[in-house]
Amino acid sequence: MIEFSSLNKWFGALHVLSDISLSVAKGEVVVVCGPSGSGKSTLIRCVNGLEPFQKGKLIVDGTELGGSEASLRDLRMEVGFVFQQFNLYPHKTALENVTLAPVHVRKLSKAAAEERGRALLEKVGLADKMENYPHQLSGGQQQRVAIARSLAMQPKIMLFDEPTSALDPEMINEVLDVMVSLANEGMTMMVVTHEMGFARKVADRVMFMDRGAIVEIAAPETFFTTPKNDRTRDFLSKVLQH
């Protein structure tokens, strides 16, 4: 489904992604962790074409990135992205946030899009908040709307960029619960997060990145119990203490 081969990216002189090779299968859930500045966010932003890269190859759902605007757009319709800062549209209600892309990009009828939107908002537990504007919702509720917004495009792949980092602790679980049920339904997911409990529960593989490179990638049992690399051990000891 997602195929990185020797991908490299520089910000000026800074080598932010070095020689990334990774393959994510259909239905697989890969959790990416690592210290800040390790390149993990940049990595998944590449998958959705939000970041250009200079060297190597990235094939997502059979489409190679770096082609035309139009092919990128077709790809993005199949790949959902959930941001750390939610990025809900402040001038639209929760329901409008969810229906906007299906109507204008998928060219669904308004009625069909609303039907789908309502079902999705119900699914994420926000049946009573459809007509609310983002600023009337808590952080956790906003992030759930954002997830429903991505799902409304019926994507094959979902990308999450630290979806709970901007949330108050008491709201983290309501978002993680939605993500867990999504994983259980067989969605292909790449998730950048420090929520190791989530990784243990649903990840097929956990990946540790540092200084732009993949340091270690393994099934959760192995990753958490017998990490091979010192840097991974060091990182885990810091994260798991919390």
Binding site: N48, G49, L50, E69, R73, D74, R76, M77, V79, G80, F81, F83, Q85, N87, L88, Y89, P90, H91, L100, A101, H104, V105, R106, H135, A146, R149, S150, M153
Partner: protein, 220 residues
């Protein structure tokens, strides 16, 4: 003496009325053209094509950096030289809507830049084209941000319209100039003229201030 003069000034009410309607129609027409052109300028100025943005920037700078009176003369004297003959009214509308577009363009550009990048990223990641991102996501938010400033700009436009009296258009200011020739009491005549402007402009100033305050309240 005062009452007699007031009576005489009031005898000129048709001139005054004509002046007011000229000022209002000049301002509204120029506002409409200026807003349309200004939004186009703003989108180019905040857009991706750096070259085009800089060319428009240079053009905008020319009209932001020179006095409006001079611009009125340029439109009135220079356009005929290159074969464009305009009436005084049309010249006034061209000069006013052009200068309005230049100021509005910079306001709109700043509004577009004030919309967080995450907004267009979110739209892009659901497959919106650039034009769709601008139309559905960025522009509606930018408009909200810049509305108070746009209302303020309209006040400036109304006031600037007084300058076109210099090419002989009978606007509100010019009507004062005409009346004062036969009723030689400048304080009274231009007091009335000023009061008329105040009645037109102050509600807009008040509106702009209120919107600004309300805007701050929702941000905080």
């Amino acid at each position: 003496m005062f009452w007699m003069q007031l009576d005489r000034v009031m005898g000129y009410w048709p001139v005054l009325l004509k002046g007011i309607s000229m000022t209002v129609s000049l301002s509204i027409l120029s506002l409409m053209i200026g807003v349309m052109l200004g939004f186009a300028f703003g989108m180019i100025r905040a857009g991706r094509n750096r070259m085009l943005a800089q060319i428009v920037g240079l053009y905008v700078d020319f009209f932001r950096g020179t006095p409006f009176l001079l611009q009125v003369f340029i439109v009135f004297f220079i356009l005929p030289e290159i074969g464009i003959e305009l009436s005084a009214f049309a010249s006034g509308v061209v000069a006013l809507s052009n200068v309005a577009a230049c100021f509005i363009g910079e306001i709109v550009a700043s509004g577009i830049k004030a919309v967080p990048l995450g907004q267009s990223e979110a739209a892009a990641s659901s497959g919106f084209t650039r034009v769709q991102q601008m139309r559905h996501i960025v522009l509606p938010q930018a408009v909200r941000i810049v509305t108070p400033a746009l209302v303020g700009q309209f006040v400036l436009l109304i006031k600037d319209s007084s300058v076109v009296s210099a090419i002989g258009l009978l606007d509100l200011t010019r009507s004062g100039w005409v009346i004062v020739q036969s009723v030689p009491n400048g304080l009274l005549v231009f007091g009335i003229i000023g009061f008329s402007y105040f009645v037109i402009c102050y509600p807009l100033i008040y509106l702009s201030r209120r919107m600004e305050r309300r805007g701050q309240a929702t941000i905080l």
